[in-house]
Subunit: 76 residues, 2 copies
């Protein structure tokens, strides 16, 4: 089975990477870019039957820094 | 309008970050993790009416390195 985990900085946490992208898009002539947030996507190839609880545990323990990041799990 | 861009390394391109995550999950006692690929997700807050072509152009010019990365655009 495959699962996809999105890890994004929480709202209110400064995102310098996203800000750099926003600025660069403006420099390249793309108007109307009001905001950019950059996060991670992690695609896991797991043994069949792995529960969503286990995947959440992986996120809590390793994949996301839950102090500043939120995550969402999607089984695909 | 909001758009979400996923940027992943193409198949066959070595992904050391993903490999490190896979190894770390094993060390933490999670069995059955056969593979991990790590990519980027970029959330764009754009002016209404921005076309998907424009977003694709942003990807080609800045967001993805199309030599080794593939991208997908999702308007949300």
């Amino acid at each position: 089975m495959k699962a996809r985990v999105h890890v994004m900085l929480k709202n209110g946490v400064l995102d310098p990477q996203g800000e750099a992208v926003r600025h660069a898009l403006g420099t390249l002539g793309f108007d109307g870019v009001n905001g950019v947030r950059q996060g991670k996507v992690i695609e896991l190839d797991l043994a069949d039957g792995t529960s969503e609880d286990t995947i959440n545990e992986m996120c809590e323990k390793l994949l996301a820094n839950t102090v500043i990041e939120s995550y969402s799990v999607e089984v695909v």
